[in-house]
């Protein structure tokens, strides 16, 4: 027989679920949970400077570990500050548990101090959510939250716990079992056989990998499939690293900022094998003109993704890894010399242009200089904007979970706290966050957290004193009318880092920026690496929003 408060029970259940680190910000309605945490010997609490930072730190941990990680906030503004990070986790299918304090049950609905309808606010941005009405309910709600977050297509789950429920005593006989993911849905072998026949008879097949391949831990099987059937392979932003960028079959990233040849190869495909991807508009451009001549095989664990955007000729609802392991032995080895040599010739004629790649003071050159200082063990995060697309195009990703970025929601401010989370989850790795001056400012307060935790995170700041991608679009599509995308007043990021207790180096005055960069990247601990870039450098090629992928500019 056990007896304890709801708050103590929450902490015990988290510990039993293997949680070692929680990112959060305390506040009135969360104080009983914080009091319970003070007694935990297992859980290290990372005090963040803003709840959004806590949400992205939890995401960074989860994106590296592949299992649910936890963020914690108080009621009202604490909960609303978490919302962006929760929505971001939903769109990228990241397992995360958000715990929020709430005003006492009797005060719910009275506009009490720091009361907000957290449950109602988070319905559309969570995979599921709970408003716990008794301490006893925690015995089912907390394990269910973990099970839901990590089963099938992963996602964020929120548990809102009123303060009196945290304080309420609860008695119970046994702790609930530690939960594991539900078994993945079973699928039809006949569909697998049909898919194998389609792959065999296709003349110009393309393999299209999405983030589901990473979530499922199936990258090696996807690469084997590509090699066995000689399939040119493109990856979404979320799947970069699933196949090494330097693999002979890799076409790199597709879509809005994909290389010309990649989009041209897709246009010629007669079979598209979509694995764990969802035909996002940034990847496929104008739907009707994407792979116009291709039959489609679509494999996804989320049944509602099948036929959602494009009708599939064969649709298989199942775990990507399980489906591929059934598909592989049924796919006959083929050489496809003609198709592969045609792909090679397109690659030769329409390669990704990387102007300035030898100059470390230009975007592509800086990215390559960073990559040259690191090996595949490093983790790369990015914020959102031009720098994100340049890194996605140019960084030599070679393994799953090497690349963390906000794909679906496109949240500026993601990269730095996610990097802190990644470093907490993998303390033996170097974590580099590519950021821009617009994005970095959106969670810059977490420099204090990084300094406090002494995490091995390096920010590579590409400073063009503007909101670069907005600036680019205004130049290209809005008659060069630059509105609210240039920062008139420069920010001294070096002083800011210094103020937060974080080391900072500036590549601008460095006589040999490669040497300064290498020294900064190889020194343990957090560091800001500042580099000015030209605001008139644009990301090319670019498919105008709403256009077909064949209509690339640049």
């Amino acid at each position: 027989m056990y007896q304890m408060t709801g708050a103590d029970l929450i902490v015990k259940l988290l510990e039993r679920q293997g949680i070692n680190t929680i990112a959060g910000v305390p506040g009135g309605a969360a104080l009983p949970m914080y009091d319970a945490l003070s007694k935990s010997e297992q859980i290290h609490h990372v005090l963040c400077r803003h709840e959004q930072g806590a949400g992205f730190i939890a995401q960074g941990m989860a994106r590296v570990s592949g299992r649910p990680e936890v963020c914690l906030a108080s009621s009202g503004p604490g909960a609303t500050n978490l919302i962006t990070a929760i929505a971001d986790a939903k769109l990228d299918s990241i397992p995360m548990i958000a715990l929020t304090g709430q005003v006492p049950l009797s005060m719910i609905g009275t506009d009490a101090f720091q009361e907000v309808d957290t449950y109602g606010l988070t319905i559309p941005i969570t995979k599921h959510n709970f408003l716990v009405r008794s301490a006893k309910e925690l015995l089912t709600a907390v394990p269910s939250a973990f099970r839901i977050a990590m089963s099938d297509r992963p996602g964020p789950v929120l548990i809102d716990v009123p303060k009196d429920v945290q304080n309420q005593m609860v008695s119970f006989e046994e702790f609930p079992d530690v939960v594991v993911p539900d078994a993945a849905p079973s699928f039809d072998i006949a569909a697998i056989e049909e898919a194998a026949r389609m792959i065999e008879s296709a003349e110009r097949p393309v393999l299209y990998l999405g983030g589901g391949v990473i979530h499922s831990g199936a990258a090696h099987m996807a690469v084997t499939l590509a090699e066995q059937a000689s399939l040119p392979t493109t990856m979404t932003l979320m799947a970069l690293g699933a196949m090494p960028m330097d693999h002979p079959l890799s076409l790199g990233m597709l879509g809005m900022h994909g290389a010309r040849y990649t989009n041209y190869v897709l246009e010629e495909a007669d079979l598209l094998i979509c694995v764990g991807a969802r035909f996002d508009d940034r990847a496929i451009g104008k739907t009707a003109e994407f792979c116009p001549n291709a039959k489609i095989i679509h494999i996804d664990i989320d049944r509602s993704e099948l036929h959602k955007v494009k009708n599939a000729h064969v649709a298989i609802a199942g775990d990507v890894g399980q489906v591929l392991s059934e598909l592989l032995p049924r796919v006959k080895p083929q050489l496809r010399k003609r198709w592969l040599s045609h792909v090679e010739s397109l690659k030769g004629r329409f390669p990704l242009a990387m102007p300035g790649v030898d100059n470390p003071r230009s975007p592509y050159g800086l990215i390559h200089a960073v990559a040259n200082c690191l090996d595949d063990n490093a983790i790369i995060t990015s914020d959102v904007g031009q720098h994100q697309m340049w890194v996605a195009q140019a960084y030599p990703f070679r393994r799953s979970r090497q690349w963390l970025n906000s794909g679906g929601l496109g949240t500026m401010g993601f990269g730095f706290p996610a990097a802190i989370g990644a470093a907490l989850a993998a303390p033996d790795r170097t974590v580099v966050c590519f950021s821009g001056d617009g994005s970095l400012k959106m969670n810059i307060q977490e420099m204090a957290t990084a300094a406090q935790e002494n995490v091995n995170v390096k920010i590579v700041l590409m400073n063009n004193q503007s909101l670069g991608l907005v600036h680019q679009q205004q130049n290209l599509f809005y008659g060069k009318r630059i509105m609210a995308s240039r920062y008139e007043r420069p920010t001294d990021f070096l002083k800011i880092a210094d103020g937060f207790g974080m080391r900072a180096v500036d590549l601008d005055p460095a006589p040999n920026p490669r040497v300064t960069l290498a020294e900064a990247l190889n020194t343990p601990g957090p560091c800001l690496i500042h580099a000015t870039i030209d605001p008139n450098e644009f990301v090319y090629p670019m498919v105008p929003p709403g256009a077909a992928n064949s209509e690339m500019i640049g």
Partner: protein, 111 residues
Amino acid sequence: MSEQNTNLSEFIPDVPEHNGFTKVVLELGVANHPGVMSHICGLFARRAFNVEGILCMPVGTGETSRIWLLIFEDERLSKMIKQVEKLEDVLYVNQHAGEHPVFGRLDEFFQ
């Protein structure tokens, strides 16, 4: 990224001006606790999928409820049903013809 795709209608079909005239009745088995209705109604509202009628009552011991929805069929219906089935609190979804008597008998209360 900053710019909205201006051509979302490419893959989220426009809300039909007339949702068609074929009515469909959906029968949902759901867990019975506060909040389930808002999960379900939110899905329809977000997609501007017009729900003509809603009925909800607990079943048996009250562990579960049954929700009846009267909607106009349009081409998004099958996608909509798949989204509803994904909700954790939804146990099953059955589709019936619009003539199902569950709503017809209520007419007298809406005169």
